[in-house]
Structure formats: structure tokens, C-alpha cells
Amino acid sequence: MKTAQPYALLAEFANPDTLLDAARNCAARYRDVDAYAPYAVDGLAEALGFRRNRVALFTLIGGIAGGAGIYFLQWYSAVIDYPINAGGRPLNSWPVFVPPTFEITILGAALACFIGMLVLNGLPRLHHPIFNAADFDLASRNRFFLSIRATDPAFDPERTRTDLEALQPLRIIEVPA
């Protein structure tokens, strides 16, 4: 019944504080530790050693690209491709190019922000081994989970289970590979 190497061992907790303690505890001894919560628990990602959040960088690049692109388009069409001399006014009439530039800067930043968030999170990914765990659907309702993946060098089915039991979870679930 029990396979030699599961995908991960999953410990279930009732509230975010015990999960945070458990996450700190395990992150010190294991590498491939994941935590699952029904809402954003403050400090949880940091407890797992998460440092580089590049969503803001994506957003900045998207905004600059959008704004520079639309300004270039306006400049090119008004100065190079279709110049119209209206009463000797400058062809590169930048003040009136500002509204589209502002709007497309926001559009570029928002698209990059949304897409960047998804890509960095590895989404869309409709299937994932963690979904095979019994009662994992509670992770989107009211339960908090901590998993240690079998890929971790320190992972040993028996010893890791003992480690997790020391954290006093509600129960331990074996996630099939």
C-alpha cells in the first residue's frame, strides 16, 4: 500500500501561528519545504527563506516599455510618417502626447504585473501532485498545511514523519507521487 517514495509528507494545522512556528522549525533543517494557507499569512514566505520577489521589477519594466512605446508611436506618426504643420506649431507637441503615454504606461505596468505574478508563481498549472493529498481542499477553506518534499536531501520517510509529529499537527498526510 505504502509506496517507497511519496511526493511529500504533509502536516495539517488549525491556525496560522502553529504553521508559522512549524515553518521556521522545518526550514532550518530542510530545503524543499512548502506551506499552504487559505489566505496570505504575514511572514510565512519569509519564514521559508523566500527573499527575491521580482513582481515589482516586472511591473516597472512593463510600465517603462508601455510608456516609451506609445510615446515613440506618437512621435513617429506626428513627426516622421505624417507631419502636419498647423500654424507653425512644433510637430513633436509633447504636452498633448502625455495623456496616451500616461494611460499606456499604466496598461503596460498592469499587464506585466499580472502576467509576471502568474509566471513567477508557475501558473497556470492546472495539475499538481499536492492536489492528490486527501482533504487538501481544506487549504482553500480553513486549514494550514506544511509539506516536506521527497526531493529534499534530508528527506527520509520515517525520520521526517517523526520530525513533523514533533510539531504536533492535527494529522500527517502522505502525498502519493
Binding site: 488549525a14 491556525n15 496560522p16 512548502d34 506551506a35 499552504y36 494557507a37 487559505p38 489566505y39 496570505a40 499569512v41 510565512l44 514566505a45 519564514a47 521559508l48 523566500f50 520577489n53 513582481v55 515589482a56 511591473t59 506609445i70 508611436l73 506618437q74 506618426s77 506626428a78 510618417d81 505624417y82 507637441s93 498633448v96 502626447f97 495623456p99 496616451p100 500616461f102 494611460e103 499606456i104 499604466i106 496598461l107 505596468a109 498592469a110 499587464l111 504585473c113 499580472f114 509576471g116 505574478m117 502568474l118 513567477l120 508563481n121 501558473l123 497556470p124 498549472r125 492546472l126 495539475h127 499538481h128 481542499d137 481544506l138 487549504a139 482553500s140 477553506r141 480553513n142 492535527l170
Partner: protein, 452 residues
């Protein structure tokens, strides 16, 4: 089994993540029926059919079926456009600006307010296209490499409009969908039929609620709010420039951008109240959307109403202070001419009636807020109508003055757009969670919200 940590949600009873999830997801998965919902759906569907008929007849015959003339070439369609865009603004304000200000009470109302925004902007976006003489060429407004070698006129606010409205609808949908992701995952996990599991599963994009996912998600959500806040101010400012850039007396004024943004938020809070009051009663959401929440929206409505009142005063003052005889003539005609009954209705609806909101007792009475909201919506529509039509009807030369009166098809388009908006909103309540479960769980866990 240890009990879930429970903290009071607002002044209501104590709630846990489980109760919040089961109650709100149940609205979508169990679909409780209410007679009000059925009646609303029937009326909204009938009006939507009327809109489709009006649009079909318009496409067959052209804009001559409306009451337009020279000089009043802009009337109902443009009034509807300005009104609907404005209604959308409060949704973004509630979800983005109040998030940046850490107003935690917004959690109960942001989801449906964002939905209101999207449906209102959809109605708005449709109106200028209907108003085009040849609506099938609307894409000429967008810069694209065409065989005619013609570019859009970048120096025109009408082109800015396309960029502003286009960006607004895209960013609103992204912001709304991003907020929905964790809740769609909840629906996926709680759905018991195969079809729903597949549909909600696809929409949730495989969201797992992993800690690192949540961290990037939070950052992205905050950044989106930061982007949406200046955007919402810019959108109605650009809409107002459609008028202010024109030389028509009554339009050519520098106060228009802030004046229009204040009016937009005003009508938007009114619509949010008009939607929230029946919704919370029909679906028993009183514990989540409390009287405190409604009262705070009422306060915001009062504040924006006072800004609008100030704008009315400044608008009239500036006309006289400018000593421009055409400006003075338009303002005098506005308050004493043929359209004066409408202007004074605007003053009654937008200035006089909302003063009732100074009373805390009225702010805490949902039915009163509902009625004031309806009055303000009517007042704001009339205000847009008076600004647009009365100014055009009374331009520089008395020889070109001409009055405007709507035809049946004008009224059908307005009524139909209200019906289509209501239909979309009612379907939203059926298929998506009306309150953000993920955010409410966090609020319930951390601190009591809306304690006032």
C-alpha cells in the same frame, strides 16, 4: 479537534474561516432562490431585449432615429456614456484607493463594487460606438498600420478617450480577476459536480495557496491598487476634456476634470448603495455587509456630494467672473430657460436631498440610503444631460439655437442599458462569490474590522 481561531467580524457575531467560506461559497454553489432575485432577473432580461432591439434598429436606420439635431449633436448616448463611466469609478476607488489607505472595512464590499465597475464601464464603452454614424468603423480610433496611411489625431481628447477607457476596462478586469483567483480555487475545491469543478478549476489557473505564491500575489495586488488609483482619476478627467477642449460656452472650463471626477465618485457610491442594500437583504449577508459598512459609504457619498455642490457654485461664479457674455448667457439660460426644471431637479437631487446624510440615524438605515442613492443617480444623470444638451442648445449664435427632446429610441437605449447592467450584475451574484472570501478570512483571523 482544536477550534478555529475566531474573531468578531465588524459588530456582528464571531466568524471563522470555515463559516465565511461555506456561507459565501454557498451562494454560488447552492444558489438559494429569492423572489426578489427572480423578479429582478425577469425585468432585467426584458430590458436587455429592449436594448438589443434598439441597437438593431439603430444599426439599420442610423442615428436619425434619435432626437439629435444641429447644434445638439451630442445628447443621450454621450450622457449615458459619461454617467456609466462615472458609476464605474466608485468600484475602483473602494477596491484600490481604500486598500492603499488600509481601510479594512472595504473587504466586505470591494468584490461586488469591482464587478459593478466592470459592468458599468462595459455599458459606457458601448455608447460612443453606438453614437458613431458608422459604428463598424470604430477601430479607426486605434492606431494600427492601415492601408490608407492615416494615423489617429493624437491631439484630440476623443483619441485620449479610447486609451483611457480601454486601459480602464483592461486594468479593472485584471484587478478583479486577480482578486478572484483564490476564491475561484475555493469554489473549485468545494464544488461537487464535475462540470463546476472543471469550469472553476480552469478559471483558478491551478492556484494552490502556497506561501510564496501568496507573497507574490500580495505584492502584485498592492501594485495593481497603486496603478488603478491614478488611473481612475485620469479616466474621468480625460472624459471631461472631451468637453473642456471644446469652445462651446458651458463646456470650456478648467474646473471640469476635478468636477467630473467628484461627480463620478458621487454617482458610483450611490450605485454601490443601490446594489448593496437589496443584495444583502436578499442573500442574508447582513453579518458581512453591516450597517456600519453602508453608513461609511453614505459618508463618502455625502463628501463627494459636497464637492459636486462646490463645483456647481464655482461653475456659475466663474461664468460671471469671466465677464464673457456667452458664458453668462448659458448659465442664465441653464437656471431660468427651457431646461431650468431639469437644472433645479439636479440641485434638488444632488445638493438638497443628500444633506439628510449628515444624520447618523439616516446613514444607519439601509432603506434610507437606498432611496438617497436612487435620487443621486437620477440627479447625476440629469446633471450630465444638462451640461451636454443645454450648453449645445444655447451656443454663440441665437440663429442656431435649437432645443432637443428625446425620442422613444433614446429612452429605450437608456432603459435597456440599465437592464443589461442589472442582468450582468445578477448573473455575477449567481456564478462568482460576491464577497472576497480570502480577504475576509484574513480579516477574521487578525483583527476585528469596521469597529466604529
Amino acid at each position: 479537534m482544536p477550534a478555529d481561531a475566531a474573531v468578531a467580524v465588524s459588530s456582528g457575531p464571531r466568524y471563522t474561516g470555515a463559516i465565511i467560506t461555506d456561507k459565501i461559497a454557498g451562494l454560488v454553489l447552492a444558489r438559494p432562490m429569492h423572489w426578489g432575485f427572480a423578479v429582478g432577473l425577469a425585468v432585467a432580461s426584458a430590458l436587455t431585449i429592449l436594448l438589443l432591439v434598439a441597437i438593431s434598429y439603430l444599426f439599420a436606420k442610423g442615428v436619425g432615429i434619435w432626437g439629435l439635431n444641429q447644434p445638439v449633436a451630442w445628447a443621450f448616448a454621450i450622457t449615458n456614456f459619461v454617467w456609466w463611466v462615472g458609476i464605474g469609478h466608485a468600484g475602483t476607488f473602494i477596491s484600490a484607493f481604500l486598500l492603499l489607505l488600509r481601510q479594512h472595512w472595504r473587504t466586505s464590499i470591494n468584490r461586488f463594487a469591482e464587478a459593478m465597475t466592470i459592468f458599468a464601464v462595459a455599458m459606457a464603452g458601448m455608447m460612443p460606438i453606438l453614437h458613431l454614424g458608422r459604428p463598424w468603423f470604430f477601430y479607426w480610433l486605434i492606431p494600427y498600420p492601415d492601408v490608407m496611411n492615416v494615423w489617429p489625431q493624437w491631439r484630440s481628447p476623443l483619441i485620449w478617450d479610447i486609451f483611457a477607457i480601454g486601459t480602464y476596462i483592461v486594468v479593472s478586469v485584471l484587478f478583479w480577476y486577480m482578486g478572484l483567483l483564490p476564491d475561484l480555487a475555493t469554489l473549485r475545491d468545494r464544488a461537487r459536480t464535475r462540470g463546476r469543478q472543471i469550469v472553476y478549476g480552469l478559471l483558478a489557473l491551478g492556484w494552490r495557496g502556497e506561501a510564496r505564491q501568496w507573497h507574490r500575489y500580495d505584492t502584485a495586488y498592492l501594485l495593481m491598487a497603486g496603478l488603478a488609483t491614478p488611473l481612475v482619476i485620469s479616466v474621468h478627467s480625460v472624459v471631461s476634456l472631451d468637453f473642456a477642449f471644446g469652445l462651446v460656452p458651458g463646456w470650456h472650463s478648467t474646473i471640469f476634470p476635478p468636477y467630473f471626477v467628484a461627480g463620478a465618485l458621487y454617482s458610483g457610491f450611490a450605485m454601490a448603495l443601490v446594489l448593496a442594500v437589496p443584495m444583502r437583504a436578499a442573500f442574508r449577508l447582513e453579518e458581512f455587509i453591516t450597517r456600519d459598512h453602508l453608513a461609511r459609504m453614505g459618508t463618502l457619498m455625502l463628501v463627494t456630494g459636497l464637492l459636486v455642490t462646490y463645483s456647481y457654485l464655482v461653475e456659475a461664479f466663474t461664468a460671471f467672473y469671466s465677464a464673457d457674455r456667452f458664458e453668462i448667457a448659458v448659465i442664465a439660460d441653464r437656471y431660468s430657460g427651457v431646461y431650468a426644471p431639469l437644472t433645479w431637479s439636479v440641485v434638488l437631487c444632488n445638493v438638497v436631498v443628500p444633506q439628510a446624510l449628515w444624520s447618523s440615524r439616516i446613514r444607519h438605515r439601509p432603506i434610507a440610503l437606498f432611496v438617497v442613492g436612487l435620487v443621486v443617480l437620477v440627479g447625476m444623470w440629469l446633471e450630465r444631460f444638462v451640461i451636454i444638451v443645454q450648453s449645445l442648445a444655447h451656443d454663440f449664435l441665437p440663429s442656431s439655437w435649437h432645443l432637443y427632446a428625446p425620442t422613444f429610441w433614446d429612452l429605450a437605449t437608456l432603459a435597456g442599458s440599465i437592464g443589461a447592467f442589472a442582468l450582468l450584475f445578477l448573473l455575477f451574484l449567481r456564478f462568482l462569490p460576491a464577497i472576497s472570501m480570502a480577504e475576509l478570512r484574513k480579516e477574521a483571523q487578525s483583527e476585528p474590522l469596521g469597529a466604529s
